[in-house]
Amino acid sequence: MRARYYFGETFANFKRNFLMAFTAITTVAITLFMVGLFSIIVYDVLGVLNSIKSQVEVAVYMEDNISDELRVYLEEEIKSWDEIEDLRFISKDKALERFREENEGSDILKEIQGNPLPASFEITLRDPEKVSQVAVRFLNKDGEFIEGIDDVIYGQNYVDKLFSIIAIVGTIAMLIIIMLLLATIVLIYNTIRLSIHARRKEIEVMKLVGASNWFVRIPFLFEGFFEGFLGSLIAGIILYFLSKFLLIRGEMALVDTMRIKDLAIVGSGEVSVYIYVGLIVLGVLVGLISSALALRRYLKV
């Protein structure tokens, strides 16, 4: 019987105070939409940047006349380093073969005589950010390459810039998301407080005729819950269609024009389900907590 009263009361209040409920739902929807949209964009941008990051490799070119023993020794030595995830040996022949494949039909091939390409190790790292530390290991005390090594290439400038861009983008995005979240919470809290304020007389009467605090509270909590849920659901639905029909296409076009084919577009994948679930959880929580906090004042009759 109680449960029926609570539900009945919640929906009756929805109907009676439609405008207030509508305002609350719209507020939740708009603010959470902003949070969600920004999260998805940031998520994608960071995803793209990170997929670039994971492609960072170190190429170690060997001197032409390197002995097999030294090569094997170096290979074992490098493999034993903690930072190394994988090491591939590319022989001179393999390097030439690869060069031919990549430049098929090009005039350049005719000009090549013999095999001018060096043998190399291609190293991938567990943590791409340690790339410059690894590169330093190929130098001796005087700053020259150790015996048998001709050159080490990992695109210093490019890699360092990439990492600082990722760090800056990530920090700024974090700050903006936190600010958006705060704004969201304050807006939703105020809206719900207004709607409760509009019904303070009802609460007063309830308390005066002997309603317990929980009896007063529960319909309002239900209402906060539903407003949060409906609002975030609306935000999620709009966001889903927006990202499906606009955002992802936009990103694909961008990726196409920038000729970075192999990069993953993360926002389109299942991972973004977390964003939607997160939005709804956030909406419901903010709705519930706002209602509970806003009620405290009025329960003191």
Binding site: M1, R2, Y5, R16, K201, E202, E204, V205, M206, K207, L208, V209, G210, A211, S212, F215, V301
Partner: protein
């Protein structure tokens, strides 16, 4: 039996104004008592202490033999279910009908719906508003609204009825009707405490009168009148 008993009750508000000073008063079961005095004399504070809207600063208040000053916050609703309240501004819920307003009291205290369906029409017949059962408060006159609020206060048959200026917004004829209704409720055995400064009402009833001034009892008369002219 003592229904309400104030022992050395003093109420000092946060801003250091004393609303009640060392009040001692016993109200017996079934009594009808007028609390009179000018605005600010402490009448409303007296009533608010009884429903524990405020706490007394010192002294003890007993209701039906229980010391309500020691009542835990969680038990306050229980106290209020035994005290019906009527106000000058009626405090009806504007978006509920007459029936819903009265039924609300019973819903709030968790009465099953079959009891609500019986008791609400009964009490509305008692106050003479059975035919307006589906009206909204704004469709009723002031007197009718006060009757609804009396029905709401009384539907649960509380042993005590508190009325804070119930005729304050009503014309003399309408007030008369309200007073007749309160007398009837008193006759059934309900203890009625009414704060008022409506002279004619007090003088026509000739019941016990307690006069407050600056938070002190300056007169306590059986079958009293409002005050010296």
């Amino acid at each position: 039996m003592n229904m309400i008993e104030f022992r050395n009750v003093t109420k000092i508000y946060d801003d250091n104004t004393a609303a009640l000073k060392n009040i001692n008063l016993v109200i017996k079961k079934g009594e009808f008592l007028f609390l009179v005095g000018p605005s600010g004399s402490g009448k409303s504070t007296f009533i608010k202490l009884l429903i524990k809207e405020f706490e007394s600063t010192t002294g003890t208040i007993h209701v039906a033999g229980r010391n309500i000053c020691k009542l835990k916050t969680g038990r306050v609703p229980q106290l209020r279910r035994n005290i019906g309240c009527i106000f000058q501004d009626f405090k009806l819920l504007p978006n509920k009908t007459v029936y819903e307003n009265v039924a609300f009291t019973l819903e709030v205290i968790g009465k099953p719906s079959y009891i609500i369906k019986v008791q609400v029409p009964q009490v509305l017949k008692l106050v003479g508003l059975y035919q307006r059962i589906n009206s909204f408060p704004h469709q009723l006159s002031g007197g009718e609204q006060q009757r609804v609020s009396i029905a709401r206060a009384f539907v649960n048959r509380p042993p005590i009825l508190l009325a804070d200026e119930p005729t304050g917004n009503l014309d003399p004829t309408t007030s008369d009707g309200i007073m007749k209704l309160l007398s009837r409720i008193n006759l059934i055995g309900t203890t009625v405490v009414m704060a008022t400064h409506d002279k004619s009402v007090v003088n026509s009833m000739r019941r016990r009168v307690v006069e407050l001034e600056n938070g002190e009892i300056i007169r306590d008369q059986k079958r009293g009148v409002y005050g010296e002219q």
